[in-house]
């Protein structure tokens, strides 16, 4: 083994490995389950979208859900069978919540769908190769489950110069990658070659912890003459963390909040490499994975290759689970895994280990005691954070401080909680604080979004209102203009008529008087002008002119005076009033007479009233003669005589019609009332018609 320099990362711990429990037997195929539950979201990103219907028969390897969006992966049927249900199903999550899933009832045939193997991947364009990986539904099998094709395609800062293959498998108990490297080293190397072909890195480094000598030997043999650098790492948890592995192998630190791609590196898990080999060379999508079944509650701890969607309970039963001894079921390792509330949940792409420990094996943590500020957590933190400070900030919900202390660089490895003498559940605090901050961020984002939408709406409504207002004004203006034009065309004669009539009526001046007046004032003006001129330049001619003009003015004035005196004042307005009075008198007398007639007054009274009416008529005639107005033309309209019978019939008809209308309008009216109203109307109509035809 050539001497190569290795670096180290800060902190880290050495928990008991307990790997020997499960790494002694070869990988076994897990039994075919009768019912598989395939959650649509087995990866980071948008859940897949089902493309099969309930009742549809599917073949092994057939796609059953398509990627929805950029960061998503498709899902394939792990075995042949019938889709029996699509909906909420148990999901391997600490909350025990249900998640949308496709359920397949296996038919036991395990019949493959036709696959498209490809022996020579070097003949394929990189995009085609990437698409193959994408369509095979591969997401990171190390634990996080990030879609592999997205990871390979996203290279924000230029080229990837180092491809790192993660075979560290640092977490206690887990041996899935160990067994995989031992048994499938050849496929692993081909998978790495495909990645190297895709990315064209300058170097490929494979990191394996030194507690897996058989795996190291197998991989070294498989590498042969290939220029891949195999690095044997000293066992230290968490050397398998992406950022820690980068630092171990290259001495470079991934910047805070960044990814290995930011420093030109890319990490892939060994399991993912084998899945890529299967997908490209055999055309086999990701439908199974190797999972470690371990813990002292199992009679036969081992690694199995299990179909995705197999309920974890069945896998544990296969490994000889003694439920009475099992304290709790942990999915993932003892450091980073979480407790599963039920055995119903299925195995998903990210599930690398099922740990069924006894109570004595992994006792529940003692109740936490207050922090003594020993600082052991800071020494253990592989991300060089200050766990105790973060813990206090999390308790006080000081989100700004948490951010300032780089909470989001925490990989939740649990090293701090492992070394804590007060048994503080430190990672819990960080997880809760992270979730809280993310939730607040989402709320803030949503609030901002809503605010924008609200403001846009307000703006839109305001504009619509303004436009309406403008239209309203335009209409009003138009209407005013039209009115003005109409008024001009109609009103011209109207307006001139009163003007012409006015002088004769109001001023009471005759035409001649007017003429005289104008002449007099004209003479006056001429005289004034002449006098002014005379004042300026006194000449004998002007003086003579002024004297002459004075005489003219005098004469005009005299003529005017004579004319005004001669003409009597115009017809007095009192005449009109008298006429009106007479008319009112007449009308009153007439109505009095009518009233008396109706009331059946005696003859003497009636004659008296008739005489009074005649007197009023005479008075009116006199008034009419006195005024210079022409006598009104009397127009008498001859009304058809209405006899009593006809009137009563017509009234009855109108009442009947009104009643019916009212009933018809009232929705609550009962039908018999409506019907009777209708018959009444018909009867009234018939009677009226009969009477008129008589």
């Amino acid at each position: 083994m050539s001497e190569v320099k290795l670096w180290d990362f800060h902190g880290g711990i050495h928990p008991p490995e307990r790997k020997a429990l499960s790494n002694r037997t070869p990988i076994q195929p897990a039994p075919l389950p009768a019912r598989l539950i395939l959650p649509l979201g087995q990866h980071i990103g948008a859940p897949a979208r089902p493309i099969v219907a309930v009742g549809e028969r599917v073949l092994k390897g057939q796609p059953i859900a398509a990627a929805s969006g950029q960061v998503s992966v498709p899902l394939h049927a792990p075995t042949s069978g019938t889709v029996s249900f699509i909906g909420s199903q148990p999901y391997p999550h600490v909350s025990g919540m249900l998640a949308p899933a496709i359920v397949i009832d296996s038919d036991g045939l395990d019949a493959w769908a036709p696959l498209a193997p490809c022996a020579d991947y070097r003949g394929l364009a990189p995009e085609v190769l990437l698409e193959k990986i994408r369509q095979a539904g591969i997401s990171g099998l190390g634990g996080a489950g990030f879609p592999t094709a997205v990871k390979l395609a996203a290279r924000p800062q230029g080229k990837i110069h180092t491809l790192i293959i993660n075979g560290a498998e640092c977490e206690p108990y887990i041996t899935a990658d160990d067994r995989l490297m031992r048994e499938r080293a050849a496929e692993l190397i081909v998978g790495i070659e495909i990645l190297a072909w895709l990315l064209q890195p300058e170097q490929v480094l494979i990191g394996i912890e030194d507690n897996k000598p058989e795996a190291i030997a197998a991989v070294r043999t498989a590498i042969g003459e290939r220029p891949f650098g195999l690095r044997v790492l000293p066992t230290k948890y968490p050397s398998g963390g992406e950022k820690q592995l980068v630092e171990l192998l290259t001495g470079q630190q991934v910047p805070s909040g960044g990814l290995p791609t930011d420093v030109g590196m890319l990490c892939q898990n060994v399991g993912t490499c084998v899945a890529i080999h299967d997908a490209v060379l055999q055309g086999r999508p990701l439908i199974s994975r190797i999972v470690t079944l371990t813990g002292e509650a199992l009679a036969r701890p081992m690694n199995v290759e299990a179909l995705l969607g197999t309920p974890v309970g069945e896998l544990l039963t296969f490994a000889g689970l003694d439920e009475a001894r099992m304290d709790r079921l942990i999915i993932g390792g003892p450091m980073m895994g979480f407790t599963l509330p039920s055995l119903e949940a299925p195995l998903i792409k990210t599930g690398n280990c099922l740990l069924a420990p006894t109570r004595s094996e992994l006792p529940p943590p003692p109740p936490p005691l207050p922090c003594i500020r020993c600082g052991a957590c800071a020494d253990a933190c592989p991300a060089s954070l200050l766990p105790q400070q973060l813990h206090f900030f999390a308790l006080g919900q000081e989100h700004e401080q948490l951010r300032a202390h780089n909470l989001f660089d925490c990989i939740e490895c649990g090293a701090c909680a492992y070394v804590c003498p007060s048994s503080l559940p430190l990672v819990q605090y960080y997880r809760a604080a992270k979730a809280e901050i993310r939730e607040l961020e989402q709320k803030q984002h949503k609030a901002e979004h809503s605010r924008r939408r609200f403001e846009l709406r307000q703006e839109r409504l305001r504009k619509a209102e303004e436009q309406k207002e403008a239209e309203r004004q335009a209409r009003a203006e138009q209407a005013a203009q039209a009115k003005a034009v109409q008024a001009e065309s109609f009103a011209l004669p109207d307006r001139t008529a009163p003007l012409a009539a006015q002088p004769s009526q109001t001023a009471g001046l005759s035409e001649q008087q007017k003429k005289l007046k104008i002449e007099a004032s004209m003479a006056q003006v001429a005289l004034k002008k002449a006098e002014k001129q005379l004042a300026a330049h006194a000449t004998p001619e002007l003086e003579a002119q002024v004297t002459e003009l004075r005489a003219v003015v005098e004469a005009a004035k005299k003529a005017l005076e004579a004319a005004t005196a001669a003409a009597p004042p115009a017809a007095p307005a009192s005449n009109d009033a008298a006429l009106k009075k007479a008319k009112i008198e007449l009308a009153m007398k007439r109505s009095e007479l009518k009233k008396a007639e109706k009331a059946g007054a005696d003859d003497a009274e009636l004659t008296r009233l008739r005489e009074a009416l005649a007197g009023a008529e005479r008075a009116l005639h006199a008034a009419e003669d006195a005024s210079d107005k022409p006598a009104p033309q009397l127009i008498r309209t001859d009304k058809r005589p209405v006899d009593e019978k006809l009137r009563t019939l017509k009234t009855e008809l109108a009442f009947a019609r009104a009643d019916l209308r009212k009933l018809e309008r009232d929705e609550a009216a009962d039908p018999p009332a409506l019907e009777s109203a209708r018959t009444r109307l018909a009867a009234a109509e018939r009677q009226l018609a009969e009477h008129q035809s008589e």
Partner: protein
């Protein structure tokens, strides 16, 4: 004499500068109202008695109470108290703090009257006259302003279902602050 002149000159220059700055760097709107508005949940529900979050923000800036926002709840009161250096008060609302809700139209019963469309402050309901309407759940703020105008009462406010994406870990209790039974066990 020179001193007086120099001071006078200084006064004039400073006055001119201030005058110019007042015109040139004039702040549009009310900056404190903007900051308050940024802390409100923007549901535009009007439960505070103002027609939307911004008017309430302006009212707070003018001296109104900070505890009238039921959708924002305790968190908003806390944030506003911090911003304005006031004492946080308990929420002043009949129903108390409400969980996040989303409106859903029972589409079979919708008559297509468009009344809810007009009521929605964030345009989260789509539909047209005499066509079925539906709520865009992602845009709905859960303000329930659409419920009242509906003539056939076909809009339900349902609490936002918890999903795996929205699930979060509980913050563990501070050490030493155990519930009684746990303390007994620990002893």
């Amino acid at each position: 004499m020179t001193a007086v002149l120099v001071l006078l000159l200084l006064c004039l220059v400073c006055g001119a500068l201030l005058g110019y700055a007042a015109v040139r760097f004039r702040v549009e709107g009310n900056p404190i109202a903007e900051q308050i508005n940024a802390r409100l949940p923007q549901t535009q529900c009007g439960q505070c008695g103002y027609p939307g979050c911004k008017p309430y923000a302006e009212a707070i800036a003018a001296g109104d109470k900070i505890n009238k926002c039921p959708p924002g709840g305790e968190a908003t009161i806390q944030a506003l108290a911090e911003l304005l250096d006031l004492e946080p008060e308990p929420l002043d609302a009949a129903g108390g703090e409400k969980p996040p809700m989303v409106a859903r139209i029972r589409e079979a019963e919708c008559i297509g009257c468009t009344k809810c469309l007009q009521a929605c402050p964030v345009d989260a309901i789509v539909g047209a006259a005499k066509q079925m309407h539906t709520v865009i759940a992602a845009e709905c703020t859960g303000c329930d302003l659409c419920v009242e105008p509906c003539p056939v009462d076909c809009i339900d406010m349902i609490p936002l279902a918890g999903s795996l994406q929205h699930w979060k870990w509980d913050l563990p209790l501070a050490p030493g602050r155990l519930i009684a039974s746990d303390r007994e066990r620990a002893a």
